[in-house]
C-alpha cells in the first residue's frame, strides 16, 4: 500500500486541510507508505518541502515539482503532474483535501488515469471502502472502489484529526526528491491563464478551521447589521460565516458561505443568528460540536439541530452578548 497526498502549501508550510489529507492517508492501512507531492515555484515551495519532511513522522517521502507552470493552481498542468507522478510511482491511493483546489484538480487527474474518484470522504472504513455524505448530508453512502489502482479520494478536512506535529526534530527527516518534469506532457497547457485572485483581507481566524464560528442569516437584514456580528466574532476570537441567503443579498462576500455548496465547518462552537436552517445550510455545519441558535421564529428548523436555542430578537441578543462577553484585549 502506498499513497500519494497531493498537498497545498502557503507561506512555507503545508495547509491544515492537507494535513488532514495526510491523516486520512494514514487511516487507509497500517504501514501505508505516504508520499507528499508539493508543487509550485520559488523559495516558499522548498521551505514547505523541508517543513513537511522534518515535521511529519508519518510521511516517508516528499516530492517537489518546481516549475513556473505550477505557480498558480491551474487544473490543466496540475492534473498532468499528478498523472505523471502516478505513472512513475504506481501508488495504490491518491488523496487530497476537498478544498476548492482538490475538487478542481483531482477529478481531472482521475479522468486522465481512467479511474473514478471518490469525493468528500468522511470516513475510511477499509483500504477501498469509504463513507461520504450525499443529498447535502441527509444520507451517508458507503462505497466500495472496485477499479484498478490508483484509488483516488478527496477527504473532508473536518472529519480527519490533524496528525501530531512534534517540534522539528533532526531524528526524522523524510527524503525530499525533485520530480523530473522533462517528460511533462504539454497537451492541455497554455490553453488557460491565471489572471488574478481577489479576497477580502481580514484579521480573523480562517472559517475552515476556526474554533468558534458565528454565522448570520437573512435575519441580520443588512450588511451594516453584519458588523454587529463581526464585533461579536472579534470578541470571541471567532470566524464569521453566512448563509446563502445572506450572501445572495450582498451582506457579505461569497467566501463566507457555509453550506452544501459553500464551506463545510465543524468548530467546537457554532453560533447561528437569524439563520432559519435550510437543509443546504445544515449540510455545512451539522458536525459542529456545540450549536447555538438565536432566532425570532421558535419553529425555525435550526432549533432541531441546536444544542442551545434562544428564541428572541438577535438585535437584542447580540448587543447583550457583546456587553457580557467583552473582548480579551
Amino acid at each position: 500500500m502506498s499513497t500519494l497526498v497531493v498537498a497545498e502549501h502557503e507561506g512555507g508550510s503545508i495547509n491544515q486541510s492537507s494535513l488532514s489529507a495526510i491523516a486520512a492517508a494514514g487511516a487507509i492501512s497500517e504501514g501505508n507508505s505516504i508520499s507528499v507531492l508539493l508543487a509550485g515555484s520559488g523559495s516558499s515551495l522548498q521551505e514547505a518541502a523541508s517543513h513537511a519532511a522534518s515535521s511529519l513522522p508519518s510521511v516517508s517521502q516528499v516530492l517537489v515539482a518546481d516549475s513556473d507552470i505550477l505557480t498558480h493552481p491551474l487544473a490543466e498542468p496540475w492534473a498532468d503532474l499528478v498523472h505523471l507522478v502516478q505513472q512513475k510511482g504506481s501508488y495504490s491511493h491518491i488523496v487530497s483535501s476537498s478544498s476548492s483546489f482538490g475538487k478542481n484538480i483531482l477529478p481531472r487527474a482521475a479522468a486522465l488515469l481512467d479511474v473514478s474518484p471518490i469525493t468528500d470522504v468522511i470516513r475510511v472504513s477499509g483500504p477501498r471502502l469509504f463513507v461520504r455524505p450525499i443529498y447535502a448530508g441527509n444520507a451517508l453512502c458507503t462505497v466500495q472502489y472496485t477499479g484498478a489502482d490508483p484509488c483516488m479520494l478527496t477527504i473532508r478536512a473536518t472529519s480527519f484529526a490533524l496528525p501530531q506535529m512534534p517540534a522539528e526534530s533532526k531524528s526524522h527527516a523524510a527524503p525530499i526528491s525533485q520530480v523530473d518534469l522533462s517528460t511533462f506532457s504539454e497537451v492541455a497547457l497554455g490553453k488557460s491563464r491565471w489572471l488574478k485572485h481577489t479576497s477580502l483581507e481580514i484579521e480573523r481566524p480562517d472559517l475552515g478551521n476556526a474554533r468558534i464560528v458565528v454565522t448570520g442569516g437573512r435575519g441580520l437584514k443588512s450588511a451594516e447589521n453584519f458588523k454587529l456580528l463581526e464585533k461579536l466574532a472579534e470578541n470571541l476570537g471567532a470566524a464569521v460565516g453566512a448563509t446563502r441567503a445572506a450572501v445572495d443579498d450582498g451582506y457579505v462576500p461569497n467566501e463566507l458561505q457555509v453550506g452544501q455548496t459553500g464551506k463545510i465547518v465543524a468548530p467546537e462552537l457554532y453560533m447561528a443568528f437569524g439563520v432559519s436552517g435550510a437543509i443546504q445550510h445544515l449540510a455545512g455545519m451539522r458536525d459542529s460540536k456545540v450549536i447555538v441558535a438565536v432566532n425570532k421564529d421558535g419553529d425555525a428548523p435550526i432549533f432541531q439541530v441546536a444544542d442551545y436555542g434562544l428564541v428572541g430578537d438577535l438585535f437584542q441578543v447580540i448587543p447583550e452578548l457583546l456587553e457580557k462577553l467583552p473582548g480579551k484585549k
Partner: protein
Amino acid sequence: MKIMVAVKRVVDYAVKIRVKPDKSGVETKNVKMSMNPFCEIALEEALRIKESGKASEVIAVSMGPAQCIDTLRTGLAMGADRAIHVSTDAPLFPLSVAKLLKALVEAENPGLLILGKQAIDDDCNQTGQMVAGLLKWPQGTFASKVILDKEKQVVEVDREVDGGLETLSLDLPAVITTDLRLNQPRYATLPNIMKAKSKVIKKVTPEELNMEIKPDLELVEVTEPPKRKAGVILSSVDELIDKLKNEAHVL
C-alpha cells in the same frame, strides 16, 4: 458556435429525502423530480450567451432512463434549441457520464460545454473536471461570472474558490461548471412550454457512442446520518453564557 449543456434529473431540492429501509438508496418513487438547480444555471448561462449573439445554438443533453426526457423537455421550454438523450438503465457514475459527454462533444463540436458544478443528489462535483480532462480542454469550474470574447476565442471566468475569487482566461473550446451566483435561471413560460413540444429530442444509446458502461464503484449501503440529540431552549442570554461556560465548556 454551439454550446452544449449537460442537465441531470434529480430529486427536487425542496423534497425531504427518505433513506430506503433496505439501505439500498434514497426513495425516488412518487417523489417530485426536477432539473438539478446547478444545471438550470448552466443552461441559463448558455441561453444568455446565445441571446447576446455569441452562440448559434444551445443543445441540452441528459443521460439515464426514459424519464430524463422530462428534464430535457424542461430545458427545451427554457429555450434550448434541441436535445439529446443518452438512453440507458445502467448505473451511471461521473466517469461514465464524462466519457459519454466526450463522445457527444466529438459528434457535435460545441465551442463550450457548460455543466452544473455538482448534482444535489450525489454531491460528487466531478463530471465537468473529468470531461475536460478527457477532452484535454481547459476548465473553469465553480464559475460566478463568464465573459465570452468571440473575436479572440477566449472566455474569462471568475471562480469561487476557498479564499475568495480567482479569475482565469481560457481558450475555446472550454468546459465551464457553474456556481450558484452565476445567474438567476428563468422560468419556462406557457408559450415556450408549448413550443418545446415540437422541438427534437434525439435518442442515442451508449452502444451507438461506442461506450461500454463498466462501473468501478459499488454502492454498498445508504444510511441515515446520526441524529443530533435534542437540545434545550433557554430563556436568557445569561443562561446561554452560563451553559456555554459551565456545561459545554466552549467559552
